[in-house]
């Protein structure tokens, strides 16, 4: 080694240290190890970390490293971790805590209540972002938690609300919106993270010059009214420069007669150009939904082989109980398969989209429906080593009533009551859509998110509220611990100072587990 090298290295260290706690968006394209810098860990939505310090041989000795008391209604936040600092959110609140110790660095609280939940923060350079119950987007200084700017996303007087974690794509901040009380049209915004300026808006409801316009009737203004909420974080492929997003159900929610047709682009996976907001392709995973089956669940990106051909794919396990694998370059379906029993569809069309049964639309005297709420927003995971797609699923039976018939219907327009349901974790072979194994869950609740790791482990919570670690190949339980509450979000992992942490937000407490400190 020459004499210059150590000096150069020292310079580089100083330069690195100067901006160490900022987030360079290019790391979002890498599988997460030292950081968990975005809602799903990286752009792909696989929620897979290559970390393997905690593995099948030692997971049984996991111990509590620290706990953080949020003292707030149940957390829905997916923590993000950037250079040793963890950022947590709740409605109108954000915390920065030390990811080594769990000690609070700062706490931000804005006016408004603390009910309503928040799914997590996004970070770009030295700035943080979150959405709020009154459907605003706020930007904070990551050093101090001080407010930098805030913009309104949609109108809370019309019952629009926020809660989703924004997605940073290069130098854009992609933000969606929620609301299913009054009829409201959904959309995505691209926002300049420096200024809060809106760069583009993509509307879920088509315009008259769009072929999708024909998938709505035009004897009423129903096409302008909406649905198609964008209330969960999407994914991004940097090579194809495509943004993938799932859209929610059409409105009125349970009245189909007022909106005869497929109702694009609701209940769809859409691929957008993140620089322009232009639609590149779509796949409608639940045409003409009448059961509130938002198809916002994470579009998970991975590469593999189907029928002997290498493919770039996107997969989704949906609220409607169906699993899809698409070619993510063009949206063509490769696999369409039910992962729970479903009676609301009569099979799949040639393009891989399900065919809804008219006689299972909500009726004034009720219909029995299975398949629905097959899963919910709590994240699935894809492990590239096993090639399995993991989802916490639910088999349930519901009765659906149409309470507001006719073309004047709006809002919910129906009622649904779920009767019996059983939760089970399922591992799906992406090549075929067939279930590889099922972890039968004696509990009747529970639908937490899942994390897979290079330690050949899955982490999640079961229906009896046990935190569990499973063998990723077989589903065998290798570790369990009852944390005294429910995990409404998913676990994350990161490694600091040579120690791997697995973090579970449970009710208002965040638990960090690691191998015993030496």
């Amino acid at each position: 080694m020459n004499r210059i090298a150590p000096i150069m290295a020292a310079f580089l260290m100083i330069a690195w240290a100067a901006c160490a706690q900022e987030l360079d968006p290019s790391i979002l394209a890498q599988p997460p190890t030292a950081n968990w810098p975005t809602f799903n860990g990286d752009y792909s939505g696989r929620r897979y970390s290559p970390l393997d310090q905690i593995n099948q041989n030692n997971v049984g000795s996991l111990s509590l490293a620290w706990a953080f008391q949020g003292r707030t209604p149940s957390l829905e936040t997916m923590p993000i971790v950037v250079d040793g600092i963890m950022y947590l959110t709740a409605a109108n609140q954000m915390w920065a805590i030390d990811a080594r110790t769990g000690r609070q660095i700062w706490h931000y609280q804005r006016p408004g209540g603390v009910g309503g939940g928040n799914k997590g923060a996004a970070m770009w350079k030295d700035r943080l972002f979150m959405t709020t119950p009154d459907d605003a987007l706020v930007s904070l200084d990551a050093r101090t938690g001080k407010l930098l700017w805030q913009i309104q996303i949609d109108d809370p007087a019309l019952k629009a609300f926020g809660g989703m974690a924004p997605l940073v794509v290069k130098d854009h901040l992609i933000v969606g919106t929620s609301g299913d009380t009054a009829d409201l049209p959904g959309f995505l915004l691209s926002v300049d993270p420096m200024t809060g300026r809106i760069e583009w808006r993509w509307d879920v409801m088509p315009k008259p010059d769009d072929p999708a316009w024909k998938t709505w009737p035009h004897n009423t203004d129903v096409v302008t009214r909406g649905g198609g909420m964008t209330w969960l974080t999407g994914t991004y492929d940097p090579e194809l420069n495509l943004l993938y997003w799932g859209t929610g159900n059409p409105h009125p929610v349970e009245n189909g007669e007022t909106r005869v047709g497929a109702n694009l682009y609701t209940c769809s996976i859409v691929a957008l150009n993140p620089d322009t907001g232009k639609l590149v392709w779509y796949f409608q995973s639940s045409p003409h939904d009448t059961h509130d089956w938002d198809m916002v669940m994470t579009p998970v990106l991975f590469d593999g082989t189907v029928d002997g051909k290498p493919r770039k794919m996107v997969a989704q396990a949906g609220k409607n109980g169906l699993f899809f694998v698409l070619d993510r370059t063009d949206g063509k379906a490769l696999v369409s398969e039910a992962f729970v029993p479903a009676n609301w569809e009569s099979g799949f069309a040639k393009n891989g989209e399900p065919i809804p049964r008219a006689d299972k639309e909500p009726q004034p005297d009720g219909v029995l429906v299975t398949g629905g709420v097959g899963t919910n927003w709590q994240a699935p995971s894809f492990d590239p080593e096993t090639g399995l797609f993991y989802v916490n699923s639910r088999e349930s039976m519901g009765v659906f009533y149409l309470t507001m018939p006719g073309v004047h219907a709006e809002g919910w327009a129906g009622r649904d009551f779920f009767l019996s349901s059983k939760s089970m974790m399922k591992a799906i072979d992406y090549r075929t859509g067939k279930i590889q194994w099922v972890r039968d869950d004696p509990g009747r609740g529970g639908a937490s998110g899942i994390l897979s790791t290079g330690g050949h482990l899955l982490f999640t919570q079961d229906g009896s509220q046990n935190l569990i670690a499973l063998d990723a190949s077989t589903g065998k339980t290798l570790w369990h611990m009852y944390p005294g509450g429910s995990m409404n979000t998913g676990p994350i992992t990161y490694q600091l100072d040579g120690r791997q942490y697995v973090v579970f937000p449970v009710d208002s407490v965040v638990y960090a587990f690691a191998l015993p400190a030496r």
């Binding site: 309503g116 019309l158 009720g366 339980t477």
Partner: protein
């Protein structure tokens, strides 16, 4: 209790966009006093009369519009604070859009706004808060089947009569529960826990209500009134699901059979 269990079950299943902001903004929120609530209800009642006589013809009996705009989705209405937006539109009209002026007094405007507010609240509850709305589906709407076919099914293929009797436990059942509640109860009653027989290594059996059986531990409320728990690996557990017959039938019902059974049970007044 059962209603609460149902609400919890539905809330868990539907926990989609997170807890709704309509669920409350946390501590500190105070509702109106009983006297204020009564005054508001009286004002809304007076406002309803004004609305039906003057407004409903164009804005619809249910406020969803007709010749005039839908008021449920109206930004102007949704942003109104105590009549500050609605009042001027009503008293001055919108001649350019065909809406006449109504020379209402400030008290009448206040009553009208109280009525519109109450309708919006009802609409929003109806749509957003699972179980938070009144169970107002009338029995006639659900009783579209054949009582005779329902009775035959009850005593025959469904096997209901093995456990239930229209003159015994089900006598007068239709009077006890409103329609959607009755339907859910016969399809799949809520709040009925499993029971279990637990046999520890010494062979002395325990019977009781099953509280936990997660593969790691077993817990029961014993028939002796005491709580008992064991590591799952140390005991043999036999679980009895009192709803097993309901569960099996639930997977087999056609919609017609469901309507027939409801129509039959509805005759048990």
């Amino acid at each position: 209790m059962i209603a609460v269990a149902l609400l919890v079950a539905i809330a868990v299943i539907r926990a989609q966009e997170g807890a709704s902001p309509a669920g409350g903004y946390g501590p500190g929120g105070r509702g109106p006093s009983p006297a204020q609530a009564a005054a508001q209800a009286a004002a809304a009642k007076r406002g309803e009369t004004i609305f039906k006589q003057n407004c409903a013809a164009c804005h619809g009996e249910d406020l969803t519009g007709g010749r005039g705009p839908d008021l449920i989705r109206s930004r102007l209405v949704r942003h109104d604070k105590g009549g500050d937006s609605i009042g001027p539109v009503v008293t001055q009209g919108r001649p350019d859009k065909g809406m006449p002026a109504f020379p209402f007094s400030p008290e009448q405007i206040s009553d009208l706004v109280a009525y519109i507010d109450s309708e919006l609240t009802l609409f929003d509850l109806h749509t957003r808060v699972p179980g938070g709305y009144p169970n107002d589906i009338p029995a006639e709407r659900l009783a579209t089947g054949s009582a005779e076919a329902g009775k035959e099914f009850f005593f025959g293929a469904a096997g209901c009569s093995k456990c239930h009797s229209p003159t015994g436990d089900l006598a007068g059942i239709a009077k006890k529960y409103d329609a959607p509640d009755l339907e859910q109860r016969f399809l799949y009653p809520t709040g009925v826990p499993d029971t279990a027989t637990v046999t520890p290594p010494d062979g002395k059996q325990f019977n009781g209500t099953l509280l936990l059986n997660d593969g790691f531990n077993v817990a029961i409320r014993g028939d002796d009134g005491w709580y008992h728990s064991w590591p799952a690996k140390d005991v043999k557990v036999e679980v009895h699901d009192p709803l097993a017959a309901h569960e099996a039938l639930l997977q087999k019902y056609t919609d017609k059979e469901m309507h027939d059974v409801f129509t039959y049970l509805e005759t048990l007044q």
